[in-house]
């Protein structure tokens, strides 16, 4: 088991490294190769004329005058050691590990921006995922145990509908009804969990429901299919033949096997969501990573785009790592192969 985890950790490290290379190539190398200096996107204002002394100084400070491999190395190593960033007109900032650059547009270090946005995204993704996992698995299990029953038929039509409705529709409808029409919830903005838990909860409930809605439907269908397949397995017949109570047969023998593939998908979904809940964040005015990435793309704030990309990628890699480990914990056959 320990060796398994170490192997997976090494694998995850390799993936993160590849992510760094890809991010560098897309955002920094591509403009360089098309003979456009990326310098504009870094200093957030019109650079001095090409070829001037100030221009060369700026290019040198950001490493663009180096050979390609050194450029990558310069960019990568700057993440790890402290240095000072300047836009050439007096504004400077010292940057410490993890130094993802400085946004001269927002006059804030990128790591600070991400640090503010990450809890919002995490709250949204984790809260919604718990909702949809519980709801989806519950509906899916009951449906899967009694395929063809009234519950099953109503449930499956309901989930099909839920899957088909996009969040930019359910989100505003929820807001309109719950907050403005019925006034069940106040119109509040996000507050950090650590500062004001009550307001945090009030601000998160609707985004959670909107986001969980579509996913719950998907998970209900998935659970139903897995449950039906598992309950037809020989080992379920064995469990019944032993004289075990139905609850034990269903939960201990059936559900555990049926949920294994769902664990993997769940972790990946959760990891993906942390950096990509753009629509939900926009609809509910939450300033998470999705919102941050849209903002920075709109303002061509390259250090922020790169920072968000890397953080989102790392979240996905970590989620995958956790999925792999959980899979091995659940299924003993995985551990030894």
């Amino acid at each position: 088991m320990i060796r398994f985890i170490i192997r997976r950790l090494l694998g995850a490290a390799v993936v993160v490294w590849i992510v760094s290379v890809v991010t560098f190539v897309i955002f920094q190398l591509a403009p360089t190769l098309s003979h456009q200096s990326p310098i504009y996107y870094y200093i957030a204002k019109q650079p001095p004329p090409v070829g001037s002394v100030q221009f060369k100084e700026l290019e040198h400070a950001f490493g663009f005058d180096r050979p390609l491999f050194q450029q990558y190395w310069f960019w990568l190593s700057n993440i790890f050691h402290s240095h000072t960033i300047s836009n050439g007109t007096g504004e400077t900032s010292s940057c410490h590990f993890p130094c993802l650059g400085y946004s001269f547009k927002l006059h804030t270090p990128v790591s600070t921006l991400i640090w503010q946005a990450l809890p919002v995204s995490l709250s949204l993704a984790v809260g919604a995922s718990i909702l949809w996992l519980v709801g989806g698995v519950l509906v899916g299990t009951i449906s899967g145990l009694r395929p063809g029953s009234l519950f099953d038929r109503v449930g499956m039509i309901g989930t099909l509908t839920a899957v088909s409705i996009p969040i930019f529709f359910t989100g505003p409808i929820l807001l309109l009804l719950v907050v403005y029409q019925w006034k069940w919830l106040p119109d509040v903005s996000y507050a950090p969990l650590t500062k004001d838990p009550a307001q945090w909860l009030r601000s998160m409930i609707l985004p959670w429901i909107a986001l969980a809605f579509a996913f719950a439907a998907l998970y209900a269908r998935l659970t139903r299919a897995n449950m039906m397949e598992t309950m037809g397995e020989d080992f379920i017949r064995t469990a019944r033949a032993k004289g075990l109570p139905r609850r034990t047969v269903v939960v201990k023998h059936g559900l555990r096997a049926a949920l294994t593939p769902i664990v993997t998908i769940f972790a990946i979904d959760l990891g993906t969501l942390i950096g990509s809940t753009v629509i939900t964040e926009t609809v509910f005015n939450l300033r998470g990573l999705g919102w941050l990435s849209i903002q920075s793309i709109r303002t061509k704030d390259l250090p922020v785009i790169m920072g968000v990309t890397i953080v989102a990628a790392i979240a996905l890699v970590l989620a995958n790592l956790i999925a792999d480990i959980m899979y091995a914990v659940i299924d003993p056959r995985v551990r030894f192969s």
Binding site: D234, F235, T238, A241, K242, G243, L244, P245, R256, A257
Partner: protein, 364 residues
Amino acid sequence: MSDPREATLGTAAIEFIPESAPDAKAFLSVRDLRVHFPTDDGLVKAVDGISFDVERGSILGIVGESGSGKSVTSQAILGLHTGTSAKLSGEIWFDDKNLLAASEKELRALRGAEIAVIFQDPLSAMHPYYKVGAQISEAYLVHNKVSHAEARKATIAMLDRVGIPNPAARYEDYPHHFSGGMRQRAMIAMALVCQPRLLIADEPTTALDVTVQAQILELMKDLAKELDSAVILITHDLGVVAETCDSVVVMYGGQCVEKGSVDQLFYEPEMPYTWGLLGSMPRLDRTRQARLTPIAGQPPSLIQVPKGCVFNPRCRYIDRVPGNRCKTEHPELVETTTKGHEVRCHIRPAERRQIFDNEILPSL
């Protein structure tokens, strides 16, 4: 819950014998069992009116091709069709209880404790996520009010008894760590850990190679004798039946076509299907005279069962019966001149014996 008899279940105390319970000696008595599955294509008559008795300490073989209804019969005895769309009728008497009329709670108390099954293909019959030992203990714990430590001790003793070396260490292994033969031994241990009075072995040796097959059969026989359990051995292997069983039921198309003692079935078989089975069985004890003769044709559809005799499309002797009766009239299961030997066939008994002696026996 309020029935006081439930508390004494398993003590084999028969307080009264209801009128409809036949033959007190046989403690399992299946009467006109039918298991039908409604499907989109029509009603599948997987088992269509089968009757047999199992006596204490005896071994009954149920023989037939795939899809002849063998396994469905065994699952009906355990009540495993409850909760499915299957329609069951008939009676299954176990002691003084009709299992088909019993509640799920009553059945659950019997399953594993009084009636246990050894399934074929133990790799898929065991849960891949749980340790072998834990799966056996689970069966013990559900029927005995004991601690986990005691269940573990009973399990290890049982693993030892079925010939698994170093049982305490193997207790901690998962099914995929076991070899095929060891897994089947563990499966037997799981079935026998509560010392059931009836053991149903559903093709227990099909997934095993021949040398292991013999060991497993021997082990099963020994243990059944030791625990005084009756055994229903479901198989398509006549060799296994000849070695192991006391009596045999031959099933075809969901029906019993011939029934009798092992000697009757092997030395005086009277049903053309049984002849076909014997003819397609390889023999090592005789020099080979000809190629094995397969039974021509396919097993019947269980939705559109052939009119008349269920075996008539594949039977080579239908012209021996005048008036095309094999294709129009369903033959009854009738006792032959020997007691306990029943055959479902329109050919006259004397002629059947003649055909067997003159045409079948020489080529076997």
